[in-house]
């Protein structure tokens, strides 16, 4: 490699590590909602400076705040999320279950025990009551089966064409056990990276469910509440360093966030990545990289090497962690980057999602 190429590579790597991304567009595009680099630019350059506070700034799945309720100190986890999925019903779930599970998972990912949720519904004029009733039933069933009550709710109706059927926003509160620090700052070189199950199920299920692809397949969303799995894992393994819930942007984006926040490198082993054959088939067909496809019931776990076996066993002991696998390792070099060792014997860099995941055309 000559000097000029080295310079070019260093330029790219410096850019990747630059903490604040600039927002260059004049209008919001769908890429700003895809969860990758553009979303980061929107959040970091437009909102973060205005909202600046130490609870928000870690940009974790939930904020964790200390409080003193008069009877001793505690730690609360607090998070919010909106759901705009189309179609409203899809194999493996619907928007209501997705919203309940998604907010529970954001709490679980900071190690919190969820206490309660709120739900705010924005409903489009003309939505059949039968559909709304089905969604209300699903909302209740999801909350009951997770054991987390929806303690506050709101409904609004907007004119026809002003919302695509229904949008749903959920907020959640949980408590974090004292004395347990989780997060990218806890990661160390040599730590192992685990995935609690198969990749890319949710995103591909939605793509197939839209019916635009003339693809038929038995791909179901993996939407599931992970708080019990997390509780089981944290009880078993002291060496858990960090948890994440890899949704939009897929595990590639989540791992990039971790690598960048920890200033460490994450090396993935392509052969070890668990993925269902039908999902892999759909991804191959559409030219989509499963690393960038959304998950809704999966956990990325970074664990100290001495606790690897305990953590893996704890995950596999729970029905939602049956397919858990060791997929990678934390290293010191090259900092801030995610690297994949391919099944073929090569390596490649796994960047953050740019734009929407675009299918290749030939």
């Amino acid at each position: 490699m000559d000097e000029r190429e080295r310079e070019a590579i260093e330029r790219i790597e410096a850019r990747r590590r630059r903490p604040r991304r600039r927002l260059l567009e004049e209008q919001v595009t769908l890429a700003h909602g895809a969860g990758g680099g553009s979303t980061h630019a929107l959040v970091e350059s437009l909102f973060l400076p205005q909202l600046a506070n130490e609870l928000l700034e870690p940009l974790a799945d939930s904020a964790v705040l200390d409080f003193d309720g008069g009877q001793g100190r505690g730690r609360l986890a607090f998070t919010t999320d909106s759901y705009v999925v189309r179609p409203l019903f899809f194999p493996g779930g619907d928007i209501a279950r997705l919203a309940v599970n998604g907010t529970i998972n954001d709490l679980a990912a900071v190690g919190a025990r969820p206490l309660c949720l709120s739900a705010a519904l924005i409903i489009e004029e003309g939505l059949p009551i039968a559909e709304l009733e089905r969604l209300a039933r699903s909302l209740g069933a999801a909350a009951r089966s997770a054991g987390i009550p929806i303690a506050a709710a709101d409904t609004k109706v907007v004119e026809r064409t002003k919302a695509d059927g229904l949008y749903l926003c959920t907020t959640g509160v949980g408590v974090v056990a004292p004395g347990r620090a989780l997060g990218p700052s806890q990661m160390r070189p040599g730590d192992r990276v685990l995935l609690s199950g198969t990749l890319a199920d949710h995103g591909m299920a939605i793509m197939v469910a839209r019916g635009e692809l003339e693809l038929e397949g038995e791909i179901a969303s993996d939407t599931a509440p992970l708080h019990e799995l997390v509780a089981q894992l944290l009880a078993a393994a002291d060496g858990v360093r960090c948890l994440r819930d890899p949704t939009r942007g897929g595990i590639a984006t989540t791992l990039n966030e971790l690598a960048s926040a920890a200033d460490l490198s994450i090396v993935l082993d392509e052969v070890a990545l668990p993925i269902r054959p039908a999902v892999m088939g759909a991804c191959e067909l559409l030219g989509i990289d499963p690393l960038y496809v959304a998950n809704e019931g999966k956990l990325v776990v970074v664990v100290a090497p001495e606790d690897l076996d305990t953590a893996l066993a704890a995950l596999r002991n729970h029905p939602l962690g049956r397919d858990a696998a060791l997929v990678g390792e934390v290293r010191s070099e090259p900092p801030g980057m995610v690297v994949l060792e391919t099944a073929f014997g090569g390596t490649r860099v796994v960047g953050m999602l740019a734009g929407d995941p675009l299918p290749r055309i030939c």
């Binding site: 850019r15 769908l30 014997g345 390596t347 860099v349 734009g355 675009l358 055309i361």
Partner: protein, 430 residues
């Protein structure tokens, strides 16, 4: 996954890599151009360069359909998309391609009805479902995608669907290859030929490369083992002093291509006198337009277009990248002003573009050079190095060294017939 994993097996790759290293003469430089963007993508996605000896360099060619569309055509596309009556349908890759006033994605944000489709037939379905709107399909791509556009047009005509039209930007690969071969700064020793295009046009159109320009061609599949095997076959030709068109992708590509697909193209499209390629300039008879009898479905005939030629941004060196004259990172704006989030040039947009592939995947692969390889003995008659790639033609004649060659031996012999100046059988306008 069945039928995929066997083409990605690491052990077979390692064995093949050793044989490639054995064929490469130390000190000699081999510059092999992969013509097709699909190959560029596979090379980076699987880290194939890590398996090659330092003597072998892969140069990325012009076969990324998104990358070659000039900015003026993209402006025309946006002008059509911004008409209030139009639903503009496009493959996803084109959404982010920068034009004079932003991309199609920006036009969509300004209010244009731009929809992503996976097939022109999806666009036709939208036309059926929205009879009061004008549905336009942005047709791009080489001979690989042209047949599906052709079939869609034939179906639109048969069903009498009048609110559907095609903005045709199909290009043909052979004139672009000829332009590269005739370029004075050509440094290519051999070509990895485009597999998917060849399923349609067959092998004959490449013969002039071997015959007139003395460069070997191996038409290759898209799995990493296919690409590695093609590199091996090219090095084998160079070592033997042969110069032929060989077919590595025998499980899909037939010598005569797909006559039915060619017929569908001929029935609906004809060659343009000339067409501008981004970075390569105007190339005669290098693109297709709809035949006059289909003008009712031709967006160029139905909508007024600005049709202004727009020069590429000065700083952008996509042309040199597409010709393989410079590597992506040698471009002045690579990684600074031009990044995947904010591309200036087309090569940075599509995942098949050399710059995007290099930016997204390639950085580390380049960092670890392979040790200069030794030269293990490779006597002729060794067993197939690829560990038994399944081949649909088990009876195919085998080359020395055991790799299955094309089903018909004739493709490996330079033809004595008339030169294949045009992609087989596409009518020329008068």
């Amino acid at each position: 996954m069945k039928h995929v994993s066997e083409y990605r097996a690491g052990d077979a790759a390692a064995r093949l890599a050793d044989r490639i290293a054995g064929l490469a003469q130390p000190g000699r430089r081999y510059q092999l151009m992969e013509v097709c963007g699909g190959h560029t993508h596979a090379i980076y996605r699987h880290g194939i360069e890590d398996l090659l000896p330092p003597e072998v360099e892969l140069v990325h060619g012009p076969g990324c359909p998104v990358c070659v569309i000039p900015m003026g055509r993209q402006d025309d596309a946006i002008a059509i998309a911004e008409r209030p009556e139009v639903i503009f349908t496009t493959f996803g890759d084109m959404l982010r391609v920068p034009a004079s006033r932003g991309s199609l994605q920006d036009a969509k944000a300004r209010g244009a009805d731009v929809r992503m489709v996976y097939s022109p037939l999806d666009a036709l379905r939208i036309a059926r479902e929205c009879p009061d709107r004008e549905v336009v399909f942005f047709a791009i791509g080489f001979e690989t995608t042209a047949p599906s556009t052709a079939v869609t047009l034939l179906r639109a005509r048969a069903e009498g669907i009048r609110n559907f039209s095609v903005f045709c930007n199909h290009v043909t690969i052979v004139p672009a290859l000829r332009a590269i071969l005739e370029s004075p700064d050509l440094r290519i020793d051999g070509f990895i030929g485009p597999g998917h295009v060849s399923t349609v046009i067959g092998l004959r159109p490449y013969r002039f490369i071997a015959r007139d320009h003395g460069r070997p061609v191996v038409v290759s599949g898209f799995e990493p083992l296919d690409v590695l095997q093609s590199v091996y076959m090219l090095l084998g030709q160079l070592a033997d002093g042969r110069c032929e068109v060989e077919n590595q992708y025998t499980r899909v590509v037939r010598e005569a291509g797909n006559p039915q697909a060619m017929r569908a193209i001929r029935e609906t499209m004809e060659l343009r006198t000339t067409f501008e390629w981004r970075g390569l300039g105007f190339i005669a008879q290098s693109a297709l337009k709809l035949r006059p009898e289909l003008s009712a479905w031709d967006a160029e005939a139905r909508f007024p277009l600005p049709a202004v030629r727009v020069a590429d941004p000065k700083a952008c060196q996509c042309g040199e990248v597409l010709k393989g004259v410079i590597r992506p990172w040698e471009c002045k704006v690579f990684g600074t002003a031009c990044t995947p989030e904010r591309p200036i040039g087309t090569c940075m947009v599509s995942s098949e573009g050399a710059c995007a592939a290099y930016y997204n995947y390639g950085r580390l692969a380049r960092r670890r050079g392979r040790e200069p390889a030794g030269r293990p003995e490779t006597p002729s008659g060794t067993p197939p190095p690829t560990g038994g790639i399944p081949s649909p033609s088990p009876g195919a004649p085998a080359r020395t060294g055991g790799i299955a060659a094309s089903p018909s031996g004739s493709t490996t012999t330079p033809s004595s017939g008339s030169s294949a100046k045009l992609p087989a059988g596409i009518p020329v306008p008068r």
